[in-house]
Amino acid sequence: MIEFHLDGRSGVAPYMQLIHQVRQSLRLGLLREGDQLPKVKDVAAGLAINPNTVLKAYRELEYEGLAAARPGIGTFVTGTLGGGASLAAHGPLRRDLQRWLAKARRAGLDEESIEALFVSTFRSAGEEEIA
């Protein structure tokens, strides 16, 4: 079972934070198909947030096909992310990225510049695909 946390300063709506955390857990392989998500009541009590916020996040996950509610029991994971394989299974890609990161550092880039370069390249690649 995963445990949710909230970042009060992030400006991201709490229900979105919950959705992100479920998606992230799916990618990292912390959650698998069939796993139960924390009970609405427990999340509400644990984080001192409105139960409706948790329900809303779970409904959104259901809509995305990632989870399903079983009345009276709870909400369970029904889908996977990342083409069926979790990030842990992307070993070769991760190694490529590590090599690239090492190269970037050798070229004298600091962390912020690396991040900026990655994000801007990621975006422009996305735009090319759309165009």
Partner: protein
């Protein structure tokens, strides 16, 4: 769904002073409603009217479809926790539960006992010897074990330290999840309410400034910044809540149902706290102006 609180032109006057004026609201059931406003805005007056402890001077109010405090049945449906969580200092914890059982027809004794146990309170301990946080938890336990449909809390966390505040809200949210109750709680601090409320009423200077589901309020308010311009030149349907100008730049907090199309504006999202503060300072500004006019 029926409204938990429905008011029309509701007002309460103390001698010559209106503590609440022209208040028209329709709060749907199933929400945790935050009633926010500075001290002296009229929050306690509105809550007093909703419990039936105060009678309106003007207008109407219905709570869960009935007249507040109209009889035993109506009283049993509404739980109320007054400011500073009053308990009987000379009575032990156990006597409070006994009192609750005798005074409330729907009393859930098992829930109350389990809760006191979980809190680690000694049933023989006099309530006056409890810490502020424990007193608040005891009072909340009584209010929840009454099994109301609507729970009204007046500044429940204002006097608590951060940990006690968190624990209080945790139990409150657990109860909402468990029993599906509707809650109205007041606070002069938005930060207390941000996580728990999904409906907001901003009350300033005895008048409701804005009310609605939090999500809708956040979606319809935007912060615009761009080259300086006259707020009067904005499109119809865009209402300016607050505005500040430098010699070259204007920053506006606006409410609009449609998207902001003018490319000259940089549009950013507004947080709940900024939104509430904008309404508060707008109302305060109006107050100052009218005050000046009177002086002239």
């Amino acid at each position: 769904m029926t409204a938990v609180i429905e008011t029309g032109g509701l007002g309460k006057r103390y001698r010559r002073l209106w503590a609440l004026a022209d208040c028209t609201l329709s709060v749907p059931a199933g929400h945790v409603v935050g009633l926010v406003g500075p001290n002296g805005a009229g929050k306690t007056t509105l809550l007093g009217l909703a419990t039936g402890m105060l009678a309106p001077t003007a207008g109407t109010i219905e709570v869960l479809g009935g007249r507040p405090g109209a009889g035993p049945a109506q009283l049993a449906r509404v739980g109320y926790l007054a400011q500073d969580a009053p308990v009987y200092a000379g009575l032990p914890v156990a006597a409070h539960l006994k009192l609750g059982a005798h005074l409330n027809p729907g009393w859930d004794a098992a829930l109350a006992r389990a809760r006191i146990k979980r809190l680690g309170l000694d049933p023989g301990q006099k309530a006056g010897k409890l810490s502020g946080g424990q007193r608040a938890q005891l009072a909340l336990t009584l209010a929840v074990a009454k099994r109301p449909e609507l729970l009204i809390l007046d500044e429940p966390v204002a006097s608590l330290d951060p940990l006690a505040r968190r624990e209080f809200l945790q139990y409150l949210m657990e109860s909402v999840g468990d029993q599906g109750l509707s809650v109205v709680l007041s606070s002069h601090l938005v930060a207390d309410l941000e996580r728990v409320c999904d409906y907001l009423i901003v009350l300033v200077g005895s008048r409701v400034q804005v009310a609605g589901p939090v999500e809708e309020l956040l979606a319809t308010h935007h912060l615009l910044s761009g080259p300086r311009r006259d707020p009067g030149s904005l499109p119809d349907g865009m209402r300016v809540i607050s505005a500040s100008h430098t010699d070259v730049q204007s920053t506006l907090l606006v409410r609009t149902s449609g998207p902001v199309l003018d490319p000259a504006w940089m549009v950013s999202e507004v947080g709940l706290e900024d939104l509430v503060l904008a309404y508060m300072s707008q109302a305060a500004g109006r107050g100052r102006r009218s005050h000046l006019e009177v002086q002239r």
